[in-house]
Symmetry: C2
Subunit: 311 residues, 2 copies
Amino acid sequence: MKNPKVALGIGDDCAVLRLPPGHETLVTTDFSLEGVHFRRDWQSPECIGHRCLARGLSDIAAMGGIPVAAFLSLAVPTALPQRWVDRFLSGLLRLARANGVELAGGDTAQSPGGVLADIMVVGTARHRRALLRAGAKAGDLIYVTGELGESAAALRLLRSGKIKKRDVFPKPRIVIGEWLASQRIATSVIDISDGLSTDLSHICEESGVGAVVEAEAIPISVNARKLSQTKRRKSTPCDFSLELALHGGEDYELLFTAPRSKRVPELIAGVKITHIGEIVREKRMYLVQDGKRSGLAPQGWEHFQSHRAMK
Amino acid sequence: MKNPKVALGIGDDCAVLRLPPGHETLVTTDFSLEGVHFRRDWQSPECIGHRCLARGLSDIAAMGGIPVAAFLSLAVPTALPQRWVDRFLSGLLRLARANGVELAGGDTAQSPGGVLADIMVVGTARHRRALLRAGAKAGDLIYVTGELGESAAALRLLRSGKIKKRDVFPKPRIVIGEWLASQRIATSVIDISDGLSTDLSHICEESGVGAVVEAEAIPISVNARKLSQTKRRKSTPCDFSLELALHGGEDYELLFTAPRSKRVPELIAGVKITHIGEIVREKRMYLVQDGKRSGLAPQGWEHFQSHRAMK
């Protein structure tokens, strides 16, 4: 994918980007490490490549930005078949093309162990229009795009050995982020990479506020719902599918707040937008379930936990 | 180090940079992997941190750019003492401060094995003034900054077991790159990261030309020269210190070409500039030594070779 803003891509000491005037430059970088963020026996190379880039694109979406170029540092063990790398790149490049992003550089090396990828994405946002985590105010309503828990449900099934492989291809919400920035509706935005409870706590911390979330309102993905039905009640005091949606990570949906006075559509770019709660003055997070209010602690997916889990 | 061009650093989904109008954006990314690019028992954490950032800054220098912000993805094994990470960062940040660069973001993870770092540096160059590898013309003279072979000499001594530790702190030639861009003297520039012979071959390939290098003119570092004196003649048909300077990597000096008509100073920013050869029409590289001309093949440091060497 050739992006006209990329004046010089792979092949010199640096890539050269010509970014539009009146814009700010957005930069994000994310690791995808074998055994930490993915396992080769659990996902196809195309899916791993897709998810590698999706992590970076989702960060650009959460700022209301437009992605321009991606840079991939990739280290692979000598024994890895070239076919695996080709398929990994094919998955990554397909998502890049779909978002007008050019792979404009990176680095390659031999890996001392496992596939090691680091993706960097550069994007732009109109001057002072980037959407931040700080800015949510008491009384603002909390919204989420799409459905939650799909990646966590897959991970749970893979870890239990019930399934051998599962590809989940999250769609970074670039168009929704752009729309929110252009309409100046959102007071704060974050992408759900570490789990709703953890990412909402980031908004609360950065904005100096608290939040009340309605359990029944949270949009739960099909497979997370299915998992709940098959899970025995005994070991799950609270609803298991809700847990996946609340604390499961890697959904790459957007979580945002907007003043109650602003009309937020039910669909943006064909994606369902769900009102799940409200920002409050008290600097704590609460979950309301069956009419009862209890404290909501950030228990999101963490790399270290996942690392143990993936071994 | 707070850089005024960094509007938003670590802590949101992306960093936000406000780059000056009339400029292009430069981006470079480089791995520093334990066992591939460094060994913890050979170098201090400060030196490893310094060299991690130096690799990126040197790429910006080779484009004639001004570095703005760095982004560090760092994965470390759980058993690694926090003190090591602190010292690594201290070495990296000292070099950042010295170059007006802010560490504006990155990613952290647990490593599945060894310390894994990926540095990304964003810089700027005036519109259409970035210095490229392509552009050298037959008749241009070839210049190199500083001295060559110091990192290769250290590596050789470490591998032989003659020394246990050796810190080499290369200085990225930012000011020289800036000067070359502002004076519009250079027709092509590259940084010497893979070795003079390999990096010169990149200039030749990109420019569609060849080169003749004068062996006697190559500035050889003190420790590379010393090594030659202690090396037995038998196993080294040609001068050993010259080999280190010609093919040793990680010197991070600049290699550039300029028309014969342009006056290139003997010192730029206090650093010696040496005329080492000439660009020729024939698309081959030659070395002239003791009045004899022989073919010069790119035999520079490669990651895969080094990987084997470091094990």
